[in-house]
Symmetry: C2
Subunit: 347 residues, 2 copies
C-alpha cells in the first residue's frame, strides 16, 4: 500500500469544529469521532482496528496486551484514591479486560514548575502501593517539567504490558446473541466522589470512589475456564457508553433493564440533586462481563465473592444495533452516546 | 519483603528544594537525583535498577524492550521536525539503543482546550510518516483534554515495545576496559535548532534538527554480529551527560578527546554566540556506540554508510569513574553533569 492510498483522512470541513473543546476528551461522541476520523485512519493497521482499550499483539511466540492512558484528574486527591492510584489501577484494568494478566507498567510524569515535592512523593508512594496490590512492576519511566502555567500540577501517563495466556479473544466482536451482561458492582461512585470534592458538596456520608484494580477478579474468571466473550472497564462515559461502544463495535443489540443496575443510595441521591444519570457517571473499579448463558451463574458466583452487588443487568439481543434500556415502567428507549461528558477531567 | 522494608525512601530534608523547578526536567543532576531518590527506591525492582531508558523484560519465552517518554517540546514545529515526529523517533531510538527491534508504539495525547484541530491533524500526519519510516505500528492510544491554561497546546506520550533477538545485554554494565566509543554523527543540532526558533535567532543558514529514527542503523550493527556493549541516544543533556551516565552506571572511566567530536560549523558558531557547550547540547537522532576494539572498524564502516561524520571519539579507561575530556591543548578535565539543562522543554 503506498503512502497516498493509506493516508485517507482529511482535515475536517470548515463547518466542523476548528478548535479542540473539553468535550473532545470526555469519552463521548466527539471524542469517538476524533479517534475514528483522525487517529485511526491516519495510523491505520489491523491491530489499531481491534477497537479496544488494549491492543492484543503477537511478539515472538508470546501473546501480549499493550495499553496506555494519561491521567489529568482534578483534584489530584479525592476520597478513595488519587492521581497515582488511579494511573496504576486504570491501566491494570485496561489490560485485565482484554483477558491478560498485567505484568509491567511504565510511568511518565509531566510536572508543573512549582509543584510541591511533598505532593509528588505522596503520589509516588500511592503508585507503589497500587502496583504492589495489583501485583505489577513499574519498570521504566520518564520525567518532564513544564513552566508554571503550562501544566496543572502533575499529569501521569502509564502504559502497560500483560500476557494473554488463553485462547479467548476477549473483545466486542466475540459477543453472541443471548449472551448475558453482568456488571461487577454498583456504578457511578467515582464520578460523584470527584464532583463532590470539586464542587465542595457535602452529602450525609462521604461518597468514596470505586478506584481499584480488578485484575485478580478477571484472572479468577479466566482460571475458572469461563468462556468470556467481552469485558470492558466502565470509565469516563459510565456503563451506558461502554455498552454502546461494545454494541456498535460488535454490530449487535444490547438490552439492559435500568432497575437491575445497582446504584448506591448516596450516589443515586447525589445524581438526582445534580441532574446526572448514574448510567453515564464515571467508575474506576467496575467492569461489565459478557458471557454465554451456560457460564452466567458461575461468573456471578465469582464476581459476588468480591462485590455482593455484582448482578445480571441484561443480554445481547438477536437483532438491533446499539443499547436499549428498559425503564422501571417497562418502556424501552435507545441510549445515545453523550456528545461530551458529564464531568471533565474525571480521570 | 514486607511493605516497610521495601519502602525505604523519605521525603527530602527541609534544606532540599521543596518545589519542582524547571531543572528537575532538564536531564541533568537534579533530575538524576529526583529519579534516584524518589522513583527508583519507591518502585524498586531489579528491572527498574537496569538503569537504562528501556527496560529489558522476559515475557513468556520472549525478550522485550519496553520504554516510555512524554514530549513537551516548544515550539511544536521546528526545522527538521515537530512534536509528532520527535515523539515517534525518540521512543523508537530508546528501544534501538537497548539492542531491540522496535515493533509497536502507543500514543497518548493531552490536548489543551482551544488547540487548532488543523494543528492536531498536522501532528497526527507527522507521526504517521515517522512511524512508517521507522517501520513501527501505532497500536493503541488515549486522548485527554485539559481546560485552557492548564496545558500548552499538546503534550504527546509514546511508549514502545521492541523485541530483543540477540544474546547481548546492551547496557552500561557490559562495557569493558579499552572499549571504543563511537559517535554516530555530528552533535548539537537539535538544541540549536529549537533555540533558534524560540529566540528568533537567524544564522547564515538554517540549522536543522537531527530528529530521526536510527533503528535501521542499530539493526544493521546487530545483523553484522558486532558485539555491542552499550549504546545510548544523545538527548536532553547531550553527548557529555550520556557518557557520564554510562560511566557512573558502569563504575568505569570514559575518556574522550574534545577535538574528535564532530560539530557542524553553524552549530559551533551558534554555541559560541549563545555561550553553550555543544557537548551538552541536545540531539534527537544521534547515539554513541561502545564496542570492543576488534569490532571498532566494522562498526565505523556501517555507521559511516549513514553519516560520514560518524567517528571514534574515545575509549573506556582501565581505571577511574566518570567522564574525562581532553581539550585541544591536551589538558584533561573531569566533566560534570549540569544541574539542570541548557534549554528547557527541548523534547
Amino acid at each position: 500500500m503506498d503512502d497516498k492510498q493509506r493516508f485517507t483522512w482529511q482535515c475536517p470541513a470548515p463547518q466542523q469544529q476548528s478548535k479542540i473543546s473539553m468535550a473532545h476528551g470526555g469519552g463521548g461522541k466527539l471524542m469517538h469521532d476524533l479517534i475514528h476520523n483522525a487517529f485511526i485512519p491516519a495510523w491505520d493497521n489491523p491491530i489499531l482496528q481491534q477497537n479496544s482499550d488494549s491492543a492484543a499483539l503477537g511478539v515472538g511466540k508470546t501473546k501480549l496486551a499493550f495499553t496506555t492512558d494519561s491521567y489529568v484528574v482534578q483534584p489530584l486527591f479525592f476520597p478513595g484514591g488519587d492521581i497515582g492510584s488511579l494511573a496504576v489501577n486504570g491501566t491494570v484494568n485496561d489490560l485485565a479486560v482484554r483477558g491478560a494478566r498485567p505484568l509491567y507498567l511504565s510511568v511518565a510524569m509531566i510536572l508543573e514548575e512549582g509543584l510541591e515535592v511533598e505532593t509528588l512523593f505522596q503520589i509516588v508512594e500511592s503508585m507503589r502501593k497500587a502496583a504492589n496490590d495489583a501485583n505489577v512492576q513499574i519498570v521504566t519511566g520518564d520525567t518532564k517539567v513544564v513552566d508554571k502555567g503550562s501544566g496543572d500540577g502533575i499529569f501521569v501517563n502509564t502504559s502497560g504490558i500483560g500476557i494473554i495466556e488463553n485462547d479467548l479473544d476477549v473483545a466486542p466482536k466475540s459477543i453472541c446473541d443471548k449472551d448475558v451482561i453482568i456488571v461487577s458492582g454498583d456504578v457511578g461512585r467515582h464520578g460523584i466522589a470527584i464532583m463532590a470534592v470539586r464542587e465542595g458538596l457535602r452529602f450525609e456520608s462521604t461518597i468514596v470512589s470505586d478506584c481499584a484494580a480488578f485484575a485478580n477478579v478477571t484472572q479468577q474468571l479466566l482460571e475458572a475456564s469461563i468462556e468470556i466473550h467481552c469485558m470492558r472497564d466502565l470509565t469516563r462515559g459510565g456503563l451506558a457508553t461502554a455498552l454502546i461502544e461494545i454494541a456498535q463495535a460488535a454490530n449487535k443489540g444490547i438490552h439492559i433493564t435500568e432497575t437491575s443496575v445497582p446504584v448506591d443510595e448516596g450516589v443515586r441521591g447525589a445524581c438526582e440533586i445534580l441532574g446526572l444519570d448514574p448510567l453515564y457517571t464515571a467508575n474506576e473499579g467496575r467492569f461489565v462481563c459478557i458471557v454465554p448463558q451456560k457460564d452466567a451463574q458461575h461468573t456471578l458466583q465469582i464476581l459476588q465473592q468480591y462485590n455482593e452487588r455484582a448482578c445480571v443487568i441484561g443480554e445481547v439481543e438477536e437483532d438491533g444495533c446499539g443499547l436499549q434500556i428498559s425503564s422501571c415502567l417497562g418502556v424501552k428507549r435507545i441510549a445515545r452516546m453523550l456528545s461530551g461528558t458529564q464531568l471533565p477531567r474525571i480521570c
